[in-house]
C-alpha cells in the first residue's frame, strides 16, 4: 500500500495534467488552478523540511567538530538572524530592547546546539537555554518599540533586514561571482591550446567572438569580425544548441512518461 498509493497519485494527476492541456473548458481551468495552489502548498512544507534538515546537518557538524565546523555557527546565526529580522519591525524611531531580544534568541539557539552537542553537563546548557528563552519571551511581550508581523509586509522595511541584505548578502554574492573573471582568465591561459583540430576550432571561434566585442578592432578588420561572429552564433552554435534542446526535450518527455507510468520510481527513495 505504501508504494501503490504514491504510484496511483502520480499516474492520476500526471495523466490529468496531460489531458487538461488540451481541454479548454472552465472546469478544466479551475481544476488546473486548484492543482497549482496545491503544488505551492506542498512546496512550502518542503521548505520547512529543508530548514529543519539544514539545522540538523549544521548541528551535527558542530557536534562532531568536523573540518571547518566554525563556519556552521555562522550559517545558523545568519539563518536565524534573517528569520527574526524578516518577522519583526520597529513601530517607530526607537528600537527599545530589540537587539537584546535578537541576542537572547540567538543565545537560546546556541545553547540548544550546545545541549545537543555535549555528552556531559547537558542540564547546565539546557538551563541556560531556558533563561535566554524566557528573557526573549518577556521582551517580546512587554517591549512596545517593535512587534511581530507574520502576515504583512512591514518587516521588508525593517532597517536591519534591509541592511543585512544590502550591505552583507549583496556584496558577498557579487564578490563571489566577480572572482569568476580571474578563474576564467587563468583557465583560458591554460586550457585554450591548439592541441588538435577540434581544440583549434574552439580556440579560433572563441577568439573571433571575443574580438567582436572589441570596437577598437573595427578600423582594422571592418565588420568582418562582427559578421563572422554573427555567423558562428547563428549557424554552428544555433545548430548545436537546437540539437541539444531537442534532445533534452525528448529526454524530459521520456522521463516524465516513465515517472507517470511507474517505471521510474527514484523519487520514492529506495524504490
Amino acid at each position: 500500500m505504501k508504494r501503490q498509493i504514491p504510484l496511483m497519485l502520480v499516474l492520476v494527476f500526471g495523466m490529468f495534467l496531460i489531458f487538461q492541456y488540451f481541454i479548454p473548458h472552465e472546469t478544466s481551468e479551475k481544476a488546473y488552478e486548484f492543482l497549482l495552489d496545491w503544488i505551492t502548498i506542498i512546496g512550502i512544507f518542503a521548505m520547512a523540511l529543508a530548514i529543519w534538515s539544514l539545522f540538523r546537518v549544521t548541528v551535527a557538524k558542530v557536534r562532531t567538530r568536523k573540518e571547518n565546523w566554525g563556519y556552521s555557527i555562522f550559517t545558523l546565526v545568519g539563518l536565524f538572524s534573517m528569520m527574526i529580522f524578516g518577522w519583526t519591525a520597529p513601530n517607530g524611531e526607537g528600537w527599545g530592547w530589540y537587539f537584546i531580544f535578537v541576542l537572547s534568541v540567538l543565545m537560546a539557539i546556541g545553547m540548544l546546539v550546545q545541549t545537543m552537542s555535549v555528552k556531559s553537563g547537558r542540564g547546565l546548557w539546557a538551563g541556560l537555554m531556558f533563561v535566554f528563552l524566557i528573557i526573549a519571551v518577556l521582551i517580546g511581550i512587554f517591549d512596545n518599540a517593535w512587534s511581530f508581523h507574520f502576515m504583512s509586509a512591514e518587516p521588508l522595511e525593517n532597517p536591519m533586514f534591509r541592511s543585512f541584505f544590502d550591505f552583507v548578502l549583496m556584496p558577498i554574492l557579487a564578490t563571489t561571482f566577480s572572482l569568476l573573471a580571474f578563474f576564467i582568465a587563468s583557465a583560458a591561459y591554460r586550457a585554450f591550446r591548439a592541441r588538435n583540430l577540434l581544440a583549434t576550432l574552439l580556440l579560433v571561434s572563441a577568439l573571433i567572438v571575443m574580438l567582436r566585442f572589441n570596437p577598437y578592432l573595427t578600423p582594422i578588420f571592418g565588420d568582418y569580425m562582427a559578421r563572422t561572429s554573427n555567423w558562428l552564433m547563428n549557424v554552428p552554435n544555433l545548430a548545436a544548441q537546437r540539437a541539444i534542446v531537442m534532445g533534452v526535450g525528448l529526454g524530459i518527455v521520456a522521463t516524465a512518461l516513465k515517472v507517470i507510468l511507474g517505471i521510474e520510481r527514484g523519487y520514492m527513495g529506495k524504490g
Binding site: E33, I39, T40, L169, A181, R193, N237
Partner: protein, 293 residues
C-alpha cells in the same frame, strides 16, 4: 629554467595580479568605449519604442545579486525607457534573492525619473513615478514554473497582493489586467535557468512577445529561440546592456563598465595567445629533440 618554461609554468597568481592591475587602472582612466549595436539588441529597442503610452510591459527581474554587475544596467535602462515613454510596468522577481534588490532598483530609477532628460533628441520632463499607477511590483513566489503558468491564468492567482501587501484590485493600473493577454511583452532579465521556463511554459503556452536580457555566458545558449522566433531580441551581458544604453542615449553603468571589461578581455586574449605561442615553441622543441609529439 628559460623564459619559455617560465611562461608555460606561470603561477596563476601572476595572472590574477595582472588582471586586477589592468581593471584598477582602466577604472581610474577616463575614456569612452565606442559601442556597435547588434541586431538582437536593436530589435528590443525598436519593439519597446513602438509601443503606445499606457501599454504594459512585464519586466521579470530573475537574477540574484551575483549577476548584478551585468544585469542591473539592463534593468535600469529598459525600465527608464519604458517610463519615459509613459508605458506601465509589472515587475516580478522569481529569484529568491531578487526582491530586495528589485525594490531598491525601482526606488533608484524612480529618483532618476524625477529629473528632466533628453534622449534621442526628445526632451522628457521629470515626473513622479507612482506605485500602482506607473508600476506594480508583484514580488517573489517560489517555484517559478508554477508562477509563470499561474500568471497565464490570472496574475491574482499567484499574487493576490503586490510585494508591499496591497491587493492587486486596489491598484489602478491592474484594473482589467488579468493575464499575459493584457500586456504588450515580457522582458526577462535573468541570470539562471528561469529563462527556460519563460520560454517553454510562458511563451510556448501563452504566445506573448518575449525578449531576454542574459549574462554573457548564457547568451549563446538562447540563440535557437531567436532563430525560431520564440524570442524577439536578446541582450547579452554587459555589452548588450551597453548597446541598449547607446540606443537609448542613456549612458550609465554598462557603458562605464565597458571601460573595465574591454581591457580585461584584451588581457585574457593576450594570455591565450601567449599560452599558445609557448605551447607551439615547446612542441617544436620537443619534436626536434625527438620527444613527444
Amino acid at each position: 629554467m628559460n623564459i619559455l618554461d617560465k611562461m608555460m609554468r606561470l603561477d596563476r597568481r601572476w595572472i590574477f595580479l595582472f588582471l586586477i592591475v589592468v581593471c584598477v587602472v582602466a577604472n581610474a582612466v577616463e575614456f569612452e568605449v565606442p559601442i556597435l549595436v547588434n541586431r538582437e539588441v536593436q530589435s528590443i529597442y525598436d519593439f519597446i519604442d513602438s509601443l503606445p503610452p499606457d501599454d504594459i510591459v512585464l519586466v521579470a527581474i530573475d537574477y540574484d545579486p551575483n549577476n548584478l554587475a551585468e544585469l542591473h544596467p539592463m534593468t535600469f535602462t529598459i525600465v527608464e525607457q519604458c517610463w519615459r515613454k509613459k508605458l506601465k510596468i509589472i515587475f516580478t522577481s522569481l529569484s529568491q534573492n531578487g526582491p530586495g534588490m528589485t525594490d531598491q532598483a525601482i526606488r533608484d530609477i524612480t529618483d532618476s525619473m524625477a529629473l528632466d532628460r533628453t534622449y534621442n533628441g526628445v526632451e522628457y520632463k521629470g515626473r513622479e513615478i507612482v506605485n500602482g499607477i506607473d508600476y506594480t511590483f508583484l514580488g517573489y513566489k517560489p517555484y517559478f514554473a508554477l508562477i509563470i503558468l499561474g500568471m497565464g491564468q490570472n496574475f491574482r492567482l499567484q499574487f493576490p497582493t503586490d510585494y508591499y501587501g496591497t491587493p492587486l484590485d486596489s491598484l489602478p493600473m491592474m484594473r482589467g489586467v488579468n493575464n499575459y493577454d493584457d500586456i504588450a511583452c515580457v522582458m526577462d532579465i535573468s541570470g539562471g535557468n528561469i529563462t527556460d521556463y519563460w520560454i517553454s511554459y510562458g511563451q510556448g503556452r501563452f504566445d506573448f512577445p518575449l525578449a531576454l536580457g542574459l549574462t554573457g555566458v548564457m547568451t549563446a545558449q538562447y540563440y535557437p529561440y531567436l532563430g525560431s522566433g520564440q524570442v524577439f531580441g536578446i541582450m547579452g551581458g554587459l555589452l548588450g546592456a551597453a548597446e541598449y544604453e547607446e540606443l537609448t542615449e542613456n549612458p550609465g553603468l554598462a557603458k562605464d563598465g565597458m571601460r573595465i571589461q574591454l581591457p580585461a578581455h584584451i588581457v585574457i586574449i593576450l594570455f591565450i595567445v601567449l599560452g599558445n605561442i609557448g605551447f607551439f615553441i615547446d612542441r617544436r622543441k620537443r619534436k626536434q629533440e625527438g620527444g613527444v609529439q
